[in-house]
Symmetry: C2
Subunit: 256 residues, 2 copies
């Protein structure tokens, strides 16, 4: 079997870019890194890098995630995810406009990662070149990537669009899946889970109905045994994420 004729197709570079989301101080935040070189030098961008020659796409995304955050993809089959705690990682979409990188033709396979609140990002040891930024600051209130009245500069390349798509994916996916627990530590309270929904959707939810809903959805939460009083007030039961991945009935996002 002959190999491809190299003249039959144009050469591409393939990268992975990461939309890493977390919830900090009641706000949905994304991990951004400062670019050290042209183009877009000094501007904020999504973390990412080249896919290696013998590497799967998901493997490249998981490697970048570890390099940037110390997070380890949660794999039920693995004995113990050593570096850092677990996180959710899934493919988001692929971006390959011919002019998206002025240097050459680059196709980027974007991935979406959801992580619990972490102490501080580490950008390969390089301090203050990586940070958690509120999504609203990066995209503007409308989420369209536009910027008004002296906000921060727009993200490099087409990363505003990628981030916007990732946020929209997260917002819709926590409706019908148990993914919101990926934003929580291993043990969490119903109130903490509710604040995740409120931060990601940007709405206020009724604590009473929310409690009934999540504790009544089979497989969503399992009691972890203890209680905590992290938030003040009456101690709350601690829960762990249950085995269910699809929620039935789904959580309902309030209307406009």
């Amino acid at each position: 079997m002959p190999p491809y004729d190299p003249s039959a197709f144009p050469p591409f570079a393939v990268t992975v870019d990461l939309v890493v989301l977390t919830v900090r101080r009641h706000a949905l935040c994304a991990l951004v890194v400062k670019r050290g070189e042209q183009p877009f030098q000094g501007r904020w961008a999504l973390p990412g890098g080249f896919v290696r020659a013998d590497e799967d796409l998901d493997g490249a995304a998981a490697r970048e995630l570890v390099e940037e955050t110390g997070l380890c993809v949660h794999d039920p089959a693995a004995p113990a995810p050593v570096p850092g705690t677990g996180a959710h990682l899934e493919q988001l979409a692929t971006y390959g406009a011919p002019d998206r990188d002025p240097r050459m033709r680059v196709v980027s396979v974007a991935h979406l990662a959801l992580a619990p609140d972490l102490p501080a990002p580490r950008a390969g040891g390089d301090a203050n070149s990586a940070r958690w930024a509120p999504v609203e600051d990066l995209l503007g209130p409308e989420g369209a990537g536009a910027h008004e009245d002296g906000q921060a500069e727009p993200l490099a390349f087409d990363h505003a669009r990628i981030l916007s798509d990732g946020v929209e994916r997260a917002r819709s996916k926590i409706e019908y899946s148990s993914l919101a627990t990926a934003f929580c530590p291993p043990e969490f309270t119903v109130g903490e889970l509710r604040r995740v929904y409120e931060a990601v959707w940007g709405v206020a939810l009724d604590p009473r109905n929310f409690h009934r809903k999540v504790t009544g959805t089979p497989g969503f939460l399992v009691p972890a045994g203890g209680t905590t009083t992290r938030q003040g007030g009456r101690p709350a039961q601690l829960f762990r994420a249950g085995g269910a991945t699809l929620l039935n009935p789904p959580m309902l996002r309030p209307e406009v």
Copy 2:
């Protein structure tokens, strides 16, 4: 700004593969083409091809779709979609396992297309090398890509997986969007739309409740004026797809 150092990244070939779905004779069918060369010579595969040097990913997918089916992507801005009728086209996912093509490293950006029932596929003029095959025959009843008791051969490469993902996307997306109309001709009856849902989901739906639901969902259907008696029985009103893309409340797929 210097160009990339070519030794800094491995070279990739980037292709688009198409999952083209339609509903024929009450069955969900996919377009497959017969491979004329190694590897997998003589086996059925999804249509696809290389992305050209100056071409967007969606543009490459649209070009392949026209080449294989004569279908034209429906673009509201275009003056008139000349070749063939309209169709829905969206990016599905990207597949890039290092060994998915034995010849070299190929990353394939799969796209999902939904089309109304067409007279016959045309594979670049090459007759009987392209056909509409029931998805159940291609994937087996479980949809896992496995084959039992002398069914047709499995699809080439990882195309069974890609097709399976595309079918699952279509099945879930017609729940909460108006995409099912993409399987219908420009004017259609409520019964024809119901048979689309029944074929894609593989279930039987109550005609009375279905009628009330779709006609009562704002923006889903708009009356086209006439009636037809294509199916026998009382003449049915003709409808066109309305402006709404997201259905609220969604269509509910019956439980197992």
